[in-house]
Symmetry: none
Subunit: 220 residues, 4 copies
DNA sequence: AATGAATGAGCCTTCATTCAT
DNA sequence: GATGAATGAAGGCTCATTCAT
């Protein structure tokens, strides 16, 4: 019982090791665990047990638990931002561009709930670990730049209200898309899960597109 | 001397205890700790050390750590819902009522960040502990009922779109108000804190009121 | 094998626990282990295994390994100094008093080799932990005061050289008595153990008494 | 980046290696580390990190940690003994020869505190590792032979007491010279550092020369 | 009603060392 | 001759919890 886990299972892979593959394995498992249980709630053993590696390897590659966590966080953010950049919205009709951005964000967050949970965890820690990641600020300004271009185009055409702030707009889109995933559990418990069925999500998606577009449109 | 901290867990108050006061103290400290560090990240010792009580008392009054956590969660929710009920919106102009509800929710979440964090924690656990609290569902339907009355009044007057769903509307108000608090840390790190100054919050508040009202208003 | 130590032996004492006895047990075992293997070389498990206690108790009573070490060190010093104070040398003939002090120190160090080893360990750490013990300096000045009184009496009678410094004298007595114990092992290996037989020690004892007395006596 | 320190163990020198230079580097670093922290207190990583080598190299050249420690110990002793042999005392006036030997030992120990600390460490281990070094006994008898010649000369001239034992005399000289370095830290803490200033050391040096010479001189 | 003492299980981390080329 | 990758075992310490009064 005591030693069943420690001695019972030998778990060295027989196939020749590829360090990068091991690192990637660890990162994948860690992302999932940290997302599900937070930094404090996840034990290094939980992560090691998910893949064919010993706990020792995690420290070998990432120094310590927090180092691993930081790397997970960094990777998660950068892949999100990269995806955002792959939308090519410049040149589109401003309202259409905005619509696509909202839809993309909504869908993307929905498909990347691990990322959302990671961010929730960070907010519980007041962003303690994110502050330590240098690349963060730089990466994130790009998304605002993109939105600024859309707003400027929209304002020039008179299709956007003059007082629209790109940062506020990003906040609004994020809020609606983020909350949809972040609070799924408690919202379902409190109010039933009708918003989280396929139809519910489709309706919600349409609604928030509507809401955002409406909010930027000048009142006649 | 060396071990004063270690054995010092027993440093209890000398003055005669009031059981209810001790319970309340524990709950207060626990709420703050759980909010700040989550269930897993908080140790019973952290809580005991904040007040003049021994760890032992926590088990005495609440059975175990999860029991305490559940109680904290339950109390937090019920006090939030109670506040919502103290708004007397019936009879008001529907748009005015809605405006007040949005403003109230926004302000209330802002002032109760511990509650927000607790809810975030629960969502990380998929609402595991909230499911165990019986009173939850019942309490929460009231807020929907309230909104339903507002919507019905609004639709009757032709001031609200016919396709407005109270549940979606609650979701929308919640999303905007919740995210404002829940993601303050990461949003600030990523985009600066201009949205979180007094002016920034005032602007945001006005904006989401505008956004919600706009989204329920029939298009001309 | 792995679990034989961990699971095999249940080691709760059946007789009612006396906290002070447990503390004392731990301190005794720790003194012996730290003396034998130094701070780094001793594992908390080594100490716990010597007595009928779990590793956990050591942390319960002493906070951490260093806290225990500090306490061991403090106790060792204070009991040595206390013994020194129980010699009543005032009023004796100064040379006789000095002789007795040398003999006492020599014998006492010999009988308390754990103390000597503890001090050696501290010196390897540059006295790092001893510096943290407040009581040290105060306790130790007493032994110099005692020696000062002897010197003053001796000088007044013209039996001690005028240039004798009590601190140097203490250093000299300590050096000879300390080294006898501290370097027993290496000295034996290098030069045989004839100095460490009963006869060898008796001769050495006589010799250092002679040496010290000779060194304080005025040259004719 | 995060794990640069952890995986960074491999940061070896890029320039073509000279095996002897690497060995010497390792030995130098190891001597310093073992002296400062003892065998148990020193980790192989500590040593590797001081020089531009991987932990791996230490095992490559020295087999294991204890092998390295033994080599350090052996080298330290042999270089000390070698220095002692380079004094050419034969033919000098016996008292002068003895004086020079005392002064040399005192000075030499003072300048080689790492050696002293290594010996302290060995004594804590009861000379466990020194016993395994074959060359030890042989090397060390030389120093006694030297002293025997001095004593014989002195006795023949009637300038030394007849009962002086060279081994005891060596012990005495060693004790005073060794303790001066070995217990510097604790002595300073307990009694202030006046003995360890330049003046203090000069006075002490003179005093122990005096003490040793006095102790071998026949009483008139 | 309240508490001091005690504890098994588990935590993250570091250790010296070896495998495999 | 030299090295990057990997590892079993043990390290100190903290955890939520219960025993016994």
């Amino acid at each position: 019982m005591v030693n069943s886990a420690a001695v019972g299972q030998k778990r060295t892979r027989s196939w020749k090791q590829d360090p990068d593959a091991v690192r990637a394995d660890i990162l994948r498992a860690a992302k999932s665990e940290f997302a599900k249980k937070g930094l404090a709630g996840t034990s290094v053993k939980d992560i090691a047990d998910r893949i064919q590696t010993s706990r020792r390897m995690i420290f070998y590659y990432f120094g310590d638990k927090e180092g691993l966590y930081r790397k997970v966080l960094e990777d998660a953010y950068s892949s999100i931002r990269q995806a955002e950049m792959e939308l090519h919205l410049d040149g589109l009709d401003p309202l259409e561009a905005l619509k696509r951005l909202v839809e993309f964000t909504f869908d993307h967050h929905w498909r990347n709930s691990d990322f959302i949970r990671l961010v929730m965890g960070e907010n519980i820690h007041d962003g303690h670990y994110m502050k330590q990641i240098k690349s963060m600020h730089e990466t994130n300004t790009k998304v605002i730049d993109q939105l600024t271009r859309i707003c400027n185009a929209g304002k020039k055409e008179g299709r956007f209200r003059e007082d629209i702030e790109p940062l506020q707009l990003h906040w609004e889109i994020s809020a609606l898309s983020f909350f949809n995933v972040s609070n799924k559990a408690t919202f379902s418990i409190n109010f039933g899960d009708e918003l989280y069925t396929d139809e519910g999500q489709a309706a919600l998606r349409a609604r928030i597109v509507d809401c955002v577009l409406c909010s930027v449109t000048p009142k006649t």
